[in-house]
């Protein structure tokens, strides 16, 4: 793949190069290299899939939220995720990929979603930890995408990032309440953070020296910072928040490095990341089965909607023909 992209690079249209050079946005009607288009479709689709699969682990807790206020906040959050999915599929559609086709790629495993959703959501505190850590990591990843070279994607990200930072604050608030609640609630919060910390660090992808697609994406203005840069940014942002929560991050090597002006942290067990990414785990199967099940149970509804639309169009045409 890397080779293919490199060998094609010289065939980039001049107009495309000029837009990139001026740091302006590429729009759907602009000329663009086929690999740029395909890379973007893959990335936007994976992002969209992550939003809709990400509804599941939290959605489970809508029914069990321990107060009505929290239930409302969680409902609104999961609704936002569905909305993000919509923006993103729409952005991918401007590149010529239909939502149907992308969903099919998700359902059949040809396209992936973020492997963070293949960890189980075991307690109410997980809803807080997902908001604080997972949405926190997502924001760090996504803020630079608001300046992505492809216009529709960049504009979708602006909207999404605003909502995500809201979600992150709500997650923090859930954990704060638990950490300052009963001893059982505190333990629940600490347990969730213990389980979600390392997976959230892995959300930034493999270390820079092992990252395949990064260079070309940088050149194309799709990616602005390296995986390790973003990961460091997330750690530096999150450690003080953990202190404010009164919770411990499960890394004995975590300490402030005054020379770097950053926190040092322990080595990440990337073998686990690769295992989860391979997507042959039970939760991966469960998430996809849930999605495919809902899609199949809804087939008759989608067929009815199309049939109704077709009838309506036919009737309108008939009426207009009659009055013409």
């Amino acid at each position: 793949m890397v080779t293919a992209i490199t060998s094609e690079a010289p065939r980039e249209p001049d107009s495309f190069r000029a837009l990139l050079a001026a740091d302006e946005r590429v729009e759907p009607r602009d000329e663009m290299p086929e690999t740029y288009r395909r890379t973007l479709i893959r990335q936007i689709a994976q992002h969209a899939h992550s939003e809709i699969i990400g509804m599941q682990p939290e959605g489970e807790w809508i029914s069990r939220a321990p107060s009505l206020r929290r239930k409302a906040i969680l409902l609104a959050k999961v609704q936002d995720e569905a909305g993000h999915g919509l923006y993103l599929y729409a952005a991918a559609e401007t590149l010529g990929a239909s939502r149907e086709e992308l969903l099919d790629a998700l359902h059949t495993g040809r396209q992936k979603y973020s492997s963070i959703f293949n960890y189980p959501t075991l307690s109410w505190a997980d809803v807080g930890a997902i908001g604080w850590l997972v949405d926190g990591a997502a924001i760090v990843n996504q803020v630079p995408l608001c300046r992505c070279s492809f216009g529709p994607y960049a504009r979708a990200m602006v909207r999404i990032c605003k909502e995500e930072s809201f979600h992150q604050r709500q997650g923090f608030e859930i954990l704060h309440t638990l950490a300052h609640g009963t001893p059982e609630q505190h333990a629940m919060a600490q347990d969730a953070v213990d389980r979600w910390w390392w997976p959230s660090l892995m959300m930034f992808g493999p270390p820079d020296d092992a990252s395949e697609h990064s260079q070309q994406s940088m050149a194309w203005g799709i990616k602005r910072f390296s995986n390790d840069e973003l990961r460091q940014r997330f750690v530096d942002m999150t450690v003080p928040q953990a202190e404010a929560l009164g919770l411990t991050l499960p890394d004995p090597d975590l300490r402030w490095n005054p020379e770097r002006g950053s926190f040092d942290f322990g080595a990440i067990d990337f073998s686990e990341l690769y295992a989860v990414i391979r997507g042959d785990g039970p939760l991966n199967r469960q998430r996809i089965a849930h999605r495919v099940g809902a899609h199949e149970r809804g087939a008759w509804v989608r067929e009815a909607a199309s049939a109704y639309e077709a009838k309506r169009t036919a009737r309108r045409a008939e009426r207009e023909g009659a009055t013409a």
Binding site: Q56, L68, Q79
Partner: protein, 244 residues
């Protein structure tokens, strides 16, 4: 949209609780649909409707607690009552078996009944309740439009969807009566008859014996409410006195 004219509006504590519990349990069932809708737009719409219902439930439960004067909050009322203490109509507690046709029919019946009930009660002397319901009229009017649009698509869609939604209508129709009052009954039934006809469907006949389709207002529920509440109350009850 035409709604019943405001009349001498009466609302006692039992009625208030009944309205709150209808909305609460409807929100709970709707919340279970998120990530399971037939199209993504519908996940958004159903979450939105669930949020509206939940909002009304919270406001009315809070007000009920204040009027009751026993210091019960919205959460005390939602999380610490037993099934027999709930006052919702049976329609909203029944499981829908993840059948979108059942969901649509039930939402249409509920929102139409709520619309006219809320509209009639906008003029109650209690300013809090009046304000909540005035806002809610606009919301349930949207819920009703949404459900009616789907009823049209399903009723006048394919043969399969027509049959499925007609069957759902037959199953849910007997539960409508419990949501009606003498003041709203005729209007609600009239509007629903129009909607059903427009969707090329048939208004079901009334059950010979209406008894088993009502009872929620007196705390006589179906076998389905206890499991629903067990799920809803699970976390809260595992930590008595905790703040969330």
């Amino acid at each position: 949209m035409s709604v019943s004219p405001p009349a001498a509006a009466m609302l006692d504590a039992d009625d208030l609780l009944a309205l709150a519990d209808d909305a609460l349990i409807a929100a709970q069932r709707l919340g279970g649909w998120v990530s399971l809708a037939p199209v993504l737009e519908e996940d958004v719409a159903l979450a939105n409707i669930a949020l509206d219902q939940l909002g009304v439930a919270r406001a009315l439960l809070t007000r009920f607690g204040e009027l009751e004067g026993r210091g019960r909050s919205e959460d005390d009322l939602a999380y610490w009552r037993t099934p027999a203490e709930l006052r919702n109509a049976l329609l909203v507690e029944r499981p829908d078996g993840q059948d979108f046709g059942v969901l649509v029919v039930r939402l249409l019946l509920l929102s139409t009944a709520q619309l006219h009930r809320y509209a009639a009660l906008r003029s109650v002397p209690d300013p809090t309740v009046a304000a909540v319901l005035a806002k809610a009229v606009a919301e349930v009017s949207y819920h009703r439009d949404h459900a009616r649009t789907w009823l049209l698509r399903l009723g006048d869609g394919t043969h399969e969807s027509h049959d499925r939604v007609q069957r759902a209508l037959e199953a849910e129709w007997p539960y409508l009566a419990e949501l009606l009052t003498p003041q709203t009954g005729a209007t609600v039934r009239g509007q629903l008859a129009d909607d059903i006809a427009a969707a090329t469907l048939v208004v079901p006949s009334e059950p010979d014996d209406p008894t088993p389709y009502a009872g929620g207002r007196e705390g006589r529920h179906t076998e389905h409410l206890a499991p629903l509440l067990a799920t809803m109350q699970e976390v809260a009850r595992a930590h008595p006195g905790a703040v969330w």
